[in-house]
């Protein structure tokens, strides 16, 4: 069984100068020979993972080669999106395929949602302590 890893919440300031703590997960995304290290927002309310347009381009994704369109909701509904698979590396855990809705929206956070980030990892949030704990999912024995 893999040991869980601890990460700190990252603090940011809103336009009024108020401090906000966010559970941002540092991870590496890989596509063929290209890779990038960045922070993804752990968004338990998001049904899916969302990849900002500029990040997909930087990883070498080609819009015209992604042939499955997906429709998003909320503010992202106004942007076209296509399904893409990347390899995600979290801490010392085994790399896993992460499926994203690659949106045409730029300047938005990388969102890690239920399909399939939270299907692959168990995460515990300790907001008051300013940390979260993560480990690969534990399969229940039947």
């Amino acid at each position: 069984m893999t040991n869980p890893e601890l990460y700190p919440y990252i603090q940011a300031q809103d336009p009024q100068g108020k401090i906000l703590s966010r559970p941002l997960m540092p991870l590496k995304l890989e596509n063929d020979t290209q890779s990038m290290v960045l922070n993804g927002l752990l968004d338990t309310g998001a049904t899916i993972n969302v990849l900002p347009y500029e990040i997909g381009l930087a990883l070498g994704l080609v819009w015209s080669q992604q042939n499955r369109s997906v429709e998003l909701t909320g503010n992202l509904a106004q942007f076209e999106a296509r399904a893409s698979i990347l390899i995600g590396v979290i801490g010392q855990f085994q790399p896993i395929p992460l499926v994203f809705a690659w949106t045409r929206a730029e300047g938005i956070p990388l969102l890690l949602g239920q399909v399939n980030f939270f299907a692959e990892f168990d995460v515990c949030f300790f907001h008051a302590r300013g940390i979260f704990e993560i480990q690969p999912k534990v399969e229940l024995s039947s």
């Binding site: 969302v50 997906v70 909320g74 503010n75 509904a77 698979i85 929206a105 969102l111 399939n116």
Partner: protein, 75 residues
């Protein structure tokens, strides 16, 4: 709606009563302008990027992921 009778009654108030009326009305306006209803009327927009209830997208992504895993398990 302001009636002549109400205006006359307001004019006849003494200085202290007039100040009290002004204070009450200013407080009411301040509360109204910060209420959720007033904010909605001002068409204030909040950025909420989280795509909750994107069930169709979730189904498409899950299908693609299942196919990917099946192909890579075979190879």
């Amino acid at each position: 709606m302001l009636s002549e009778q109400l205006l006359n009654e307001l004019h006849n108030l003494n200085r202290t009563e007039k100040l009290r009326i002004v204070q009450i009305l200013v407080n009411e306006l301040a509360v109204e302008e910060t209420s959720p209803e007033m904010l909605r009327q001002l068409a204030v927009q909040y950025e909420v990027w989280s795509p909750y209830d994107a069930f169709g997208a979730a189904h498409t992504l899950q299908t693609m992921l299942d196919e990917y895993k099946r192909d890579h398990d075979q190879s």
